[in-house]
Amino acid sequence: MLSELSAILESMIFTSESALSVDRLCDLLTEFERGDIKSALTDLVNSYQERAGGFELVEVAGGWQFRTRPTFQSYIVRHIKTRSAKFSPSALETLAIIAYRQPVTRAEVEHLRGVDCGGVLKTLLEKHLVRILGKKDIPGRPLIYGTSKEFLEIFGLKDLKSLPTLKEIQALDEHPQYERQEELQLEPDKAVPVEGDLPFPDKREVEPCSESQP
C-alpha cells in the first residue's frame, strides 16, 4: 500500500504531459511539506524499482516522469507500427467528394477542393478506398473515380444508398415546423395578465423550491 501523498504524486505525474519538477509539485500541493513530498517521491521510485514492471519513475530534465523500460521497446513498437492510421483532413475531404459525386474525374475533385489532389488520390487508390471506374468519353479521356467495396466495409455501409445524404445531415439543424399557435385559447375564461411589469424581472431569478404540495 502506498501512502496517500505518494498516490497523489503518482496521479499527477501520470497525467502530466511533461516532467514535473519537485518545485512545481510543491507549488501545486501547498498543503504538504516539501520534505514529505520528496520522501514520498523516493518511496515511489523504490516501489517501481522493486516491482520491476513495464515502466518506472525516472528523473529527466529536472523533473519526474514515468518512462517505459528500454527492455520493452521492441514490444511497444509492435503495437505502434501496426496501429490504425487516422485519416488526414484532406484525404477525408477528397474521399467525401468521390463518394458523393461519383463517377468523378480528378479535375472535378480538384475544382471542388481548389487544390491539386493527385497525391491524396494516389493514397486513396493505394489504400483501396477508391478505384478507377473507367475513362470518361470526353476529349483527353480522363480517368473517372469511384469508391470501392473496402470503402463500404470501413464505413460499415451496406451500399452506396446507405450513405447519409447531405440533406439528412443538414436536417439535424432544422426544427420541425409547428404552426404558430399564439392564439390558442387554452382557457378562454381566465384573463391573461399584462405581459410587462412582472414582479420577478428575470427568469433566472425564479428560484427552485423543494416542492412538497399536499
Binding site: T15, S16, V77, K81, S84, S90, E195
Partner: protein, 273 residues
C-alpha cells in the same frame, strides 16, 4: 400620479402571479421538454404515475405554458403538441364509451398511451442521470499525459505511415512562423540558393542515409529563403516520384526516403487503416 399607474397595475397582477409563482417556482429553463414538465407535475402533486389525474395535470400544465408566455419565454411547439394531447385525453374521458366501437381495437383507458410514454421517458431520464454521474474520462479520471519519445524514431525504422500533403504544408507553415523576422533580412541577395542545387543536395544525402528528417535539412542555416527553397525542392522531388514522405504520428517529425529504395517493400506491405 405618473408613477402610480404602473404600481397600480403591478398590484393588480401580483396576486395571480404570486399564486402561479408559488405553485410553480422552479427553474423555467430546466425543463427538457413537455415530458419532463409532466413528470415534474406528477411528482409535485404526489400522483401515482399509473393513475394520474388528467384533469389536475392538464390544468397545471396549461397554467405553466401560460406562465411561460407571460414571462415572454418562447413556448416551443413541442409543449403545445403535448397540451393538445392532454386536452384530447381529457375530452375522451368525458365522453361515454361507444359500444358500437370495437373494444379490442380501442384502448380502454385513454391515458394508457401517455402513461406508457411517461414511464419509458422516466426510465431514460434516470438512466441519463446515472450515466452522467459516472466518473468521466477527462472530467474525473484521466489517462496518461506524456508520450513516449522513442516511439517516433521506432516508427520510422519499422514501418512509417503516409502523411498528407496538407500536413507537410502545415509543418512548413509552422516552421516559417518560428523563424525570427531578423533572419529573413540577414539573407544576402547575392548568394541565393536555387532549387536545382537543393534537389541535388537532398538526393546525395539520400544516398548516404536511408532517411532524412525535414528539420535536419534546414537546421544548418535556418533562414526563410533556405526553408522556402528546400520546401520547393521537396515538392519537386515528390512530383518526380523520387522521394516519399512519411510522418510517424500526427504533428510528429516528417521524414523522407528515397522512393526507389522503398518500392519493393511498398508492394509487399498492406495498408492498414
Amino acid at each position: 400620479m405618473a408613477d402610480a399607474v404602473p404600481h397600480h397595475q403591478q398590484d393588480e397582477n401580483l396576486p395571480l402571479l404570486d399564486g402561479i409563482h408559488q405553485q410553480y417556482s422552479v427553474h423555467l429553463d430546466s425543463f427538457d421538454g413537455p415530458m419532463d414538465l409532466l413528470l415534474h407535475l406528477i411528482k409535485k402533486n404526489e400522483l401515482d404515475i399509473y393513475d394520474i389525474s388528467i384533469a389536475v395535470i392538464t390544468r397545471q400544465y396549461l397554467d405553466f405554458i401560460k406562465l411561460m408566455k407571460e414571462l415572454n419565454l418562447e413556448v416551443a411547439g413541442d409543449f403545445l403538441v403535448m397540451a393538445a394531447t392532454l386536452l384530447q385525453i381529457k375530452s375522451r374521458q368525458l365522453l361515454p364509451l361507444d359500444d358500437q366501437e370495437d373494444p379490442e381495437a380501442e384502448e380502454a383507458d385513454p391515458r394508457a398511451e401517455l402513461i406508457r410514454r411517461l414511464l419509458e421517458y422516466q426510465q431514460y431520464k434516470e438512466a441519463g442521470q446515472l450515466i452522467g454521474a459516472r466518473a468521466l474520462l477527462g472530467r474525473e479520471v484521466f489517462a496518461r499525459g506524456a508520450r513516449e519519445e522513442f516511439v517516433a524514431v521506432a516508427q520510422q525504422q519499422e514501418g512509417p505511415l503516409e502523411v498528407s500533403l496538407f500536413e507537410l504544408a502545415d509543418a512548413f507553415r509552422g516552421l516559417l512562423a518560428r523563424i525570427p523576422v531578423e533572419s529573413f533580412h540577414d539573407v544576402a541577395p547575392g548568394d541565393s540558393l536555387n532549387i536545382a542545387d537543393c534537389i541535388n543536395e537532398i538526393l546525395s544525402l539520400l544516398q548516404e542515409q536511408d532517411t532524412i528528417q525535414f528539420d535536419q535539412l534546414v537546421s544548418d542555416e535556418l533562414t526563410r529563403e533556405r526553408i522556402v527553397v528546400t520546401f520547393l525542392a521537396l515538392l519537386e522531388l515528390c512530383k518526380l516520384k523520387l522521394i516519399r514522405i512519411f510522418q510517424g504520428e500526427q504533428h510528429g517529425s516528417i521524414w523522407f526516403v528515397s522512393a526507389v529504395a522503398t518500392e519493393l517493400a511498398e508492394e509487399q506491405s498492406t495498408y492498414a487503416l
